[in-house]
């Protein structure tokens, strides 16, 4: 399993497609196997964060389409409505429902010791997806599947350096503002840190200000409006998700400035949701760094291995790409979400 490194965009998409295909294969395998052996489905309890974004909905969808009856699974889905307390409750109830596997997309990284211990005591393996959990004992979960947010941060900074190079601006002073995600979210931390670390390599880059836009378009716009009034010479906006970038673009336009590949301000964003491609095609956004929500097949792969008694890697990153504006029109139709 590759760690969302610098793959070219085309590569990423093809890879993605292939993983999906292989998965359907394994799935069919499982089914035949199951009917042969126990005639029983594998019961998977999945505790999801909520449906707070398109990304999350795609993630849920991926799980639901993977763990179907046809593929030999029974999925118990629980939505935590963005509350960790609810997830803890759900896991406890999964244990009582005698599920075979528990999959958690944690709301927070912290606070999992107690309930994971309960699962372990009941002999139920746990797989973590998306955000990591911060527990004292690694053996409390079998594996983790997700994105490498830090790497996404690195990618963003590297792409920017390269882009500025191409524009022959690498020597100029570059002023950056960041619209951060909800403070404390893994994506926010990883992306902020990644960019921050790479900033050290570019002494001519200045981070004017960071402010959270809470991952929403409206807040992103409001904060950007404020930035634009405080600073006259913003060169780059880093929005830690696409929605905030949309808000920023509107604010920039309202202030009488332009953005995108042909504009005054470079817009750098994360997630690469479908709407981001529209925005890039419209020439408003420069780049979006992917955050792949399609975790289902990857998790199924792990479960199959565990069923066979094989050991699995503790950490499994999903594939992720970088999508600059010039390739957007071409790639959009191939995207799954």
């Amino acid at each position: 399993s590759g760690c969302g490194g610098k793959t070219t965009t085309t590569d990423a998409t093809t890879k993605q497609e292939t993983t999906q295909e292989t998965n359907t294969d394994t799935a069919t395998d499982t089914k035949s196997e199951d009917t042969n052996a126990a005639g029983d489905t594998i019961v998977v309890g999945f505790s999801q964060v909520g449906a707070e974004s398109d990304w999350r909905t795609a993630n849920t969808e991926s799980m639901k389409t993977t763990f179907t009856e046809e593929n030999g699974y029974t999925l118990l889905f629980d939505d935590a409505q963005q509350k960790q307390e609810n997830q803890i409750k759900a896991v406890r109830n999964f244990i009582q429902q005698d599920v075979d596997y528990i999959v958690i997309a944690p709301v927070t990284e912290t606070g999992w010791d107690t309930v994971l211990k309960e699962a372990k005591d009941a002999g139920i393996p746990v797989i973590i997806v998306d955000r990591m959990v911060d527990v004292s004992d690694d053996s409390l979960y079998e594996a983790w599947v997700g994105s490498n947010f830090l790497q996404e941060g690195y990618d963003a900074a590297d792409w920017l350096a390269e882009y500025l190079d191409k524009q022959q601006r690498s020597a100029e002073d570059i002023n950056i503002v960041t619209l951060q995600g909800t403070i404390g979210a893994s994506a926010q931390i990883g992306r902020t840190d990644g960019v921050e670390e790479k900033m050290k390599e570019h002494t001519n880059w200045t981070m004017l200000e960071r402010q959270t836009g809470e991952f929403t378009q409206a807040k992103g716009q409001e904060v950007m409006e404020s930035f634009l009034k405080s600073y006259d010479d913003i060169d780059v906006v880093i929005a830690e998700n696409d929605n905030m970038a949309f808000g920023a673009i509107d604010a920039i336009k309202a202030a009488g400035k332009t953005c995108g590949p042909n504009g005054d301000i470079i817009i750098l964003s994360f997630d690469a949701v479908a709407a981001a491609f529209d925005s890039m095609i419209a020439g408003d956004m420069n780049v979006s760094i992917e955050c792949n929500p399609l975790h289902g097949p990857r998790v199924a792969e792990l479960i199959q291995k565990l069923e066979k008694g094989e050991t699995v890697d503790k950490i499994a990153y999903v594939e992720e790409g970088i999508f600059p504006a010039d390739t957007a029109a071409e790639i959009k139709p191939t995207r799954a979400y």
Binding site: D54, T216, Q221, E222
Partner: protein, 350 residues
Amino acid sequence: MTRFKKITGYGLFLPILCFILVLLINVIKTPSFFEISIKNGVLYGYIIDVINRASELVILAVGMTLVVASSGGTDISVGAVMSVAAAICCFILSGGQQTTNSYQNPYLLGALVAIIIGIICGCWNGFLVAKMKIQPMVATLILFTAGRGIAQLITKGQITYIRVDSYKLLGGNIQGIPLPTTIFVVIIVVVLANLILKKTALGLYIQSVGINARASRVVGLKSAQIIFLTYAFCGLCAGIAGLMASSRIYSADANNIGLNMELDAILAVALGGNSLSGGKFSILGSVIGAYTIQALTTTLYAMSVSADQLPVYKAIVVVIIVSLQSKEFNKIVINIKDKLVSYKERKKVA
């Protein structure tokens, strides 16, 4: 002295004073706050931002004021209702697709249905409060919980984008008019509400029911009907606010449209000098309260206060404002002043 008394005795004096005080913070901290320029033929500046951004809140506060006045309770579902209205509007306009570049149905249809849905939500709340006699906060808790779910159901859990320029007009600017459209909507809503209250006896009815529902029944008012009406109206306001918020981001974001707006709306009502236990009310007070809140938020942004720490400052300012408005606080201050004066006098004598 008497004139001064007359001014200070005027009901809206304190809310207005507080609003001005909040603005004055900027004179010291961010002098550029009051600059207004023209960009792209549109007025541009912090003050314009305040007026523009406060629009949804103002409209919600108008509806909330009446709900509070008539039932002595609050409607905590307005934020969720906003998102339902936005979702249904975008759903109709996009014809069910996730994103669209042209209207699949006429805009008016979408807007109308959205507003009607807002009213229906209000009616549901009104039914529970007025007819079923359920306590307002709990009655509206139902839609508060379900609202965003319904909105997500409509949008299938995704953000529905309407990428049509005319959709942005409501939350943006109409070509050739230098002021944001929202201002006009606000003016219409506020004026309309005031007209209804002044030109009919509804205002008196609402106050009467809010002060003493039993006595109001005896004098021939249908308390239930009046309470119901205010909730329906509040739903209408939420519907309009939802359309506005949706237009700003030309999409329906079920999770975030109107998030936590109910609290600010209630706060606006209180900052406007209205009692949350019902009865006498002033719409204008709530309007000023709403602008005060937005002015505070914008001010803090202008001062680069981080969004997640912003509530601390907001809390402090709110406490100061409501303390200033509290009669007890005045009494204490006067007491202390008296004591100081008499102490000084005694010293002089001695």
